[in-house]
């Protein structure tokens, strides 16, 4: 007879976990999404990028929207590391492991997806060897690659803390020393993440021939540079909280104190409020000053095609001002359901912002004989994007099952513990 608890030796010390039968949906769903992605990758690499929705109008498509979104949502890792190791907010120790795993999933997923997006991954090293030092995209590539290394270093001590691995004295010493010197990696990660989040926005802001995304700025950095960092650190902690809350819901166990969620809500709220004020000022200045000087009117950019003015109201209103005002209000943060809803809107806001910058920028005609376009992805293309979700489900699920991700789990669940 099959033993559904044959892996219990690997469980974190003193913590119960569900049987393998109950855990199997995580593996099956994750595996199915990864299989879809693998088939999509074979099609796109074998037959070429014309198997995606990308064409002469859209050089960037669903993958870049997904990339930019998950990189922004993965900002919870660097921001939590910064607050915990550099600023000294020790209560975030309860959530730092989860934030690191989420960050690692987001960044490794984004890099894997970029490997397909460049069409010929075998030439991926060209961008490092033939570095164009005037390109923000090169800076993004360098920083993302280095930061993925940092995230791996931050994830490693957690893997080493597996109960079976900890039986080895050298492994115990290694994980202990990783923790002792983690401030070096967290500090470097903050620097790297800060710059590539910014440069991802800067990439759009410097597009002088695309008035929709062009922005003025400070020295060499357009305002989008700063707005992208700001929105990422406002949404990253909210996304981390949502994933942890979802894990609590699925596992039926309390994993972090509610005070940590409220703290994250407060941080996200104030960052989002200041961001949305800056974003509104930026939009007004762009619409009333930048665009007229470039010979374009605000309404002409939304005149036709699928991407109308409603996008602005959704991005700034429903996904911007509403969650910002909700999260800074203490009574909302004290209500778990309202806190989660406000965080969902916050996260949707950053995804929406990245979609607008990637897709709408390219959808608007820049030549007199062109028309407004709409982007539609293909099934293989979608498969590669959702494979990252499947990959995330597997990595986070397995990490929660076998590693001591939440240091206060035992204390917060005294009956089972």
């Amino acid at each position: 007879m099959l033993n559904w608890n044959c892996d219990k030796e690997l469980y974190p010390d003193g913590l119960p976990r569900c049987s393998l039968a109950k855990f199997s949906p995580v593996v099956l769903i994750g595996g199915a999404l990864l299989t879809w992605g693998a088939i999509g990758a074979i099609i796109c690499l074998g037959y070429g990028l014309n198997k995606t929705g990308m064409n002469d109008y859209f050089a960037l498509g669903l993958w870049i929207v997904f990339d930019l979104s998950i990189i922004a949502l993965g900002a919870g890792a660097f921001f939590t590391g910064f607050l915990n190791y550099v600023v000294g907010r020790k209560e975030l120790k309860d959530v730092i492991n989860a934030a690191v795993i989420i960050g690692f999933i987001c960044y490794s997923g984004a890099v894997a997806m970029l490997g397909i997006d460049i069409g010929q991954p075998i030439r991926g090293w060209f961008i490092f060897w033939h570095a164009n030092v005037h390109s923000m995209l090169t800076e993004v590539t360098f920083c993302i690659t280095c930061y993925l290394g940092v995230l791996l270093v931050e994830y490693l001590p957690l893997i080493l803390e597996n109960r079976v691995a900890q039986k080895q004295r050298f492994v115990r010493l290694l994980s202990h020393n990783f923790h002792e010197f983690m401030f070096i990696f967290a500090g470097t990660g903050t620097f790297l993440s800060f710059f590539h989040q910014g440069s991802l926005g800067g990439m759009f802001g410097v597009l002088f021939a695309r008035p929709f995304s062009f922005r003025e700025g400070f020295l060499i950095w357009p305002w989008t540079f700063f707005l992208f960092i700001w929105s990422a650190i406002a949404a990253g902690p909210a996304f981390t909280t949502l994933i942890v809350s979802l894990t609590e819901k699925i596992s039926g166990r309390k994993l972090i104190p509610y005070s940590v969620k409220m703290f994250y809500g407060k941080v996200s709220g104030w960052l989002l409020l200041t961001y949305i004020i800056a974003k509104t000022i930026d939009t007004l200045y762009w619409a009333l000053s930048t665009l007229p000087r470039m010979g374009v009117t605000f309404h002409s950019l939304y005149a036709e095609g699928p991407y109308g003015l409603w996008l602005v109201w959704l991005e700034l209103g429903l996904f911007g001002w509403l969650p910002a005002l909700a999260l800074v209000y203490p009574k909302v943060r004290k209500n778990p359901a309202l806190l989660m809803w406000a965080m969902v809107l916050d996260v949707l806001g950053v995804i929406f912002n990245r979609f607008v910058f990637v897709i709408q920028t390219q959808a608007i005609p820049v030549l007199p004989f062109e028309k407004f376009m709409g982007y539609m992805f293909t099934i293989p293309e979608l498969g590669i994007a959702v494979a990252v979700i499947g990959y995330g489900l597997l990595v986070f699920g397995l990490s929660y099952r076998y590693l001591p991700v939440f240091p206060r789990e035992k204390e917060l669940n005294p009956v089972e513990g």
Binding site: A131, Q166, F170, L174, N177, H179, E180, P404
Partner: protein, 52 residues
């Protein structure tokens, strides 16, 4: 063709860009060496730590 970049040019852009990259790589490499080295020294010295 120097230092370690095929299209290397002796200008400010390359110094800042590649300089920051190498600085980060050196910090990360040094950090990893310190961690592994200290763990090895502790191991040889017979030191042990409790489970985290």
């Amino acid at each position: 063709m120097f230092p370690f970049n095929f299209e290397w040019a002796w200008d400010v852009g390359h110094f800042i860009f590649m300089g920051l990259l190498y600085m980060v790589l050196i910090i990360l490499g040094a950090g990893l060496h310190i961690v592994v080295g200290k763990a090895l020294l502790d191991f040889i010295s017979g030191i042990d730590v409790s489970h985290h």
